[in-house]
Amino acid sequence: MTVLSKKIFPNVICTFCGSTCDDLEVTVEGEKVLSVRSGCSSSLSKYLNYRADRNLTPLVRKNGELQETSYDDAIRRSAEILANANYPLLYGWSSTSNEANRVGIELAEWVGGVIDNTTTVCHGPTLLGVHDIGEISGSLGEIVHRADLIIYWGANPVHSHPHHIMRYTSMSTGRFRLSRKDRKMIVIDVRKTDTAKLADQFIPITPNGDYELMCALRMAVRGDELEQDVISGVPAETIEELAEAMISCQFGVIFFGLGLTMTEGRHRNVDVALSLVRDLNARTKFLIIPMRGHFNVGGANEVSAWVTGYPYAVDLSQGYPRYNPGDTTAVDVLVRGDCDAALVVASDPISNFPVEASRHLVKIPVITIDPHPSATTPISEVVFPSQIVGIETGGDIVRMDGVTIMTKTIVPAPPGIHSDVEILEAILAHVKKIKMGKQ
């Protein structure tokens, strides 16, 4: 019998949301996480429950039922499905490492499919806006030390990124901004969110009213007169005061969430937000940063961009990368019924796609690689258990501000469970064999 000793890991990178806080102190004993210090409630839930509710053996569908199988059989079956498909969709990628993303893109190239990450139903329109306008960004560290005006627009970090405010913005302690009273915090949202309750000023707006309000704000920043009394539910005087607050700050930042990307206007909302920040930089220093959701959605974009030239929705069916959001994006590919197989890595599209897209996913063979059972696993043809990045395996990830961070292995994985990288490399090797055999 081996005697297990307690180990304390300082500065653990949290792999929950896009803030990827790097200050967790995790105490483990063998495979058990005993305690987590400095984590938010989401990261506590993730680390303390990481062993609960796991996929533990590879599963393959036989006679309509998912049955346990060997790892090699699951690899073989997956490679056959992907190699024989005409137009497979390779989806997910935001809750795994950059290394896994790189292998995924090579696999997409070999099987001639479309590879898309969760950006597609998240900040996809943000990237389209950035293609049009460009973005004035900076690291979260700059904001900690310098920002005196923090604006959250269509974002609710208290729920989605629980420690964002404390570590990086209004409540953080920086070199030139020592406490909460050195910073002004404004929240613009359709609901009085728990984030809004922490703000110095909350500006409620009507749903789908972001574009008009942002245009009016841009006019006010430029000194043009607003002709309407109320715009998107906001009085013109409030807009003028907001413009004044933005111009007169020393260092401002807008963090925006899906309130801009999922509503009417989508990338046009982001266009005008980016343009507003560009205008503001003629008067003062201002940044804009999207509140990226999954811990490595930034990495999925970066890896895709440096390998294929495009950040998401990349179609490799012609043998070269094509990028046409609205056409090569996962939801559109599924709703049109174009793809005839799917590989889902570290994601749960059934829980996140509109029902029509899910209905097509149910009809085609789906291979799922996921540490946990999800709404997508019951409809899958093959299910691989995998190691959790940042807990059972390491790997590089990219924080919401584009900073690359290396995650750590803190506990051993359950026996026989491989990492996403190993599983993808094994499928890729088998796919190559099948494709070379065909030629």
């Binding site: 839930s45 509109p354 029509e356 209905r359």
Partner: protein, 156 residues
């Protein structure tokens, strides 16, 4: 899928729901906003099939006045319908208040049953700010995740 309730309500020029006049059901035209909630984020890492996840996600938050006008009490089930389809979830008083006529549901398969597919050339469906209609449905049964996933194979 839900007996006496119209499964897909008629829409005026595909954007505005027409009320269920004549059906004898008191309903409200609302704007549906979906989003992240702390409970959804916390419980999804406990397990998608866990009781915590079900309780956190199969929910619709409404303004207390709206709940009153539907003739139900908080915690009773409501049926929400958009041009895409219908779903039954539990009602709750919104702790993060908006205005009357705005309802909130956390991300998950229940709200997905209501999300239209158009992405207008961006890849992004409308997941916030959707026209919808809500009615009290205290007698209708909530579907759990397993049943809801099974229902996907059955088609519209």
């Amino acid at each position: 899928m839900y007996g006496k309730y119209p499964s897909v309500i008629s829409f005026d020029r595909l954007t505005r729901p027409c009320s269920w006049e004549g059906s004898g059901i008191s309903s409200l035209k609302v704007t549906l906003v979906s989003g992240r909630s702390l409970g959804q984020g916390r419980s999804k890492v406990i397990g998608k099939f866990s009781e915590e996840y079900f309780r956190s996600v199969a929910v619709c938050e409404l303004d207390p006045e709206d709940i009153k006008s539907l003739g139900i009490s908080p915690g009773q089930n409501v049926i929400i319908t958009t041009k895409t389809g219908s779903v039954v979830v539990k009602s709750a008083i919104a702790s993060q208040r908006s205005r009357r006529g705005v309802i909130f549901m956390p991300y998950g398969l229940w709200v997905n049953m209501l999300i239209p597919t158009e992405t207008y050339g961006t890849g992004m469906p409308s997941m916030k700010g959707i026209e919808a209609e809500v009615a009290g449905a205290p007698d209708e049964k909530l579907m759990d995740l397993r049943d809801l996933v099974k229902s996907l194979a059955g088609g519209a």
